[in-house]
């Protein structure tokens, strides 16, 4: 039956309304999990708190497993799901820029919004900076960025196809990697917090 919007089972307005409520839920959970605290996010880079890594890794795997199981039972048509084309060079550069923003500012775009709403002034400045960046990029797109933006085109790829392996096998391997990473970061976290240098 799904996805609902691309098959025009629901209209654009209802689609946005669903997104609105999911967004509120997402923001609520980010705040409830303490993600609006910059120290929690920066903890990944200092080694005293790996919640961010655990949350996003397990979220990605949960979503993948959920989608593939629903696809198997005919609840969702994976071939109708939209995902953007990959341009690896700008993605790599954008990822690096985002990582630096993450370390320096202590927020990612989603958490900065949540933190700004809860009244954190540094988050408001962060959001302002992000907006300035967005507008600068938009207004200088054609002369400066267009060539870079279109470089390294790979089309619509997913890693499993690219490696030539089965999607299910890829998810299984990824889950093993995640489990190993969770175990490793628990040990690192224990060692760092035992020294007692860092506190949330």
């Amino acid at each position: 039956m799904g996805p609902l919007f691309p098959q025009e089972i629901i209209g654009e307005e209802f689609n946005i309304l669903i997104g609105f409520f999911i967004g509120i839920g997402f923001g609520f959970l980010l705040e409830a999990a303490g993600f609006t605290n910059t120290r929690k996010l920066a903890g990944v880079f200092y080694g005293y708190d790996f919640v961010v890594l655990k949350v996003f890794f397990s979220a990605a795997i949960t979503a993948a497993i959920g989608l593939f199981i629903m696809n198997h039972f005919g609840l969702i048509d994976m071939s109708a799901i939209y995902y953007p084309k990959t341009f690896w060079i700008p993605t790599l550069i954008g990822g690096l820029i985002m990582a630096f923003g993450f370390i320096i500012g202590g927020f990612c775009p989603g958490t900065s919004m949540c933190a700004a709403i809860t009244g954190k002034i540094d988050a408001m400045v962060f959001v302002g900076g992000a907006l300035i960046g967005v507008f600068l990029y938009a207004f200088t797109y054609e002369p400066l960025w267009e060539t870079l933006r279109n470089s390294g085109a790979m089309g619509e790829v997913n890693i499993a196809d690219w490696l030539g392996i089965d999607s299910g096998l890829f998810i299984l391997l990824l889950t093993f990697v995640a489990a190993a990473a969770f175990y490793a970061v628990t040990i690192i976290q224990k060692k760092v917090t035992e020294k007692g240098d860092y506190q949330l």
Binding site: F5, P6, I61, K85, G168, T175, Y183
Partner: protein, 207 residues
């Protein structure tokens, strides 16, 4: 690690194992049965309209490959900018297989109308190739709508005028010669005067 963490990781691993077993039993995608082919043929998303193509060409989309299915003589007389020529009778030539059977570029098939493209599209689907699309109406529609768009009646709704204006801009861009010197359009038409496809609105990042 806490017991709860171990339980959750176990749950993830179980789910992943389940997924692995399930996708193994799913039919391979490259095996297209006639029934499935009928389903595919009945869908509408095999077409690309001339307006969409014009938008993609004007925004210099690097993933577009135009394939002209007419004979070499016709191709040499007139073809779309940047098109490659694969005549209909040599479509199964192994030389062209890597053009049609790939998953990086978006192939747009066209001839004078849509019928040759529809034939090639059907063959390519039967072979399990992806990313091949038919230019709806072919070159004739291209000339009618993009190169020489007709002005809508004065009583027409606003959206028709908007479409006409964007087509006129496209016509100017592709050198259709319908724009007079006194036209108010600037040197360079805006890069994407067409509405984006609905599908793209559903995309999004992680956070």
């Amino acid at each position: 690690m806490k017991k709860r963490d171990i339980f959750l990781i176990g749950l993830l691993l179980f789910g992943a194992f389940l997924t692995f077993m399930m996708t193994k039993s799913d039919e391979p995608l490259d095996k297209v049965t006639p029934c499935k082919l009928l389903d595919i043929a009945a869908t509408q998303d095999k077409y690309i309209s001339t307006d969409e193509l014009a938008r993609m060409m004007m925004s210099n989309d690097p993933t577009i490959v135009l394939i002209d299915l007419r004979t070499k003589v016709e191709f040499d007389t007139f073809s779309l900018q940047g098109a490659i020529n694969i005549p209909l009778d040599s479509i199964l030539n192994p030389e062209y297989e890597e053009v049609l059977n790939q998953d990086i570029f978006t192939n747009v098939l066209y001839s004078n109308s849509s019928d040759m493209a529809a034939k090639v599209w059907l063959i390519s689907k039967r072979l399990g190739y992806k990313n091949n699309y038919i230019l709806r109406g072919g070159l004739n529609r291209w000339v009618e709508t993009i190169l020489r768009p007709k002005r809508p009646l004065e009583t027409a709704v606003n959206t028709e005028f908007e479409l006409y204006n964007s087509r006129r801009a496209a016509s100017y861009y592709f050198g259709g010669g319908t724009v007079s010197a006194s036209s108010t359009i600037g040197d360079k038409p805006s890069s994407s005067p067409f509405k984006r496809r609905k599908k793209e609105a559903a995309g999004g990042g992680c956070d």
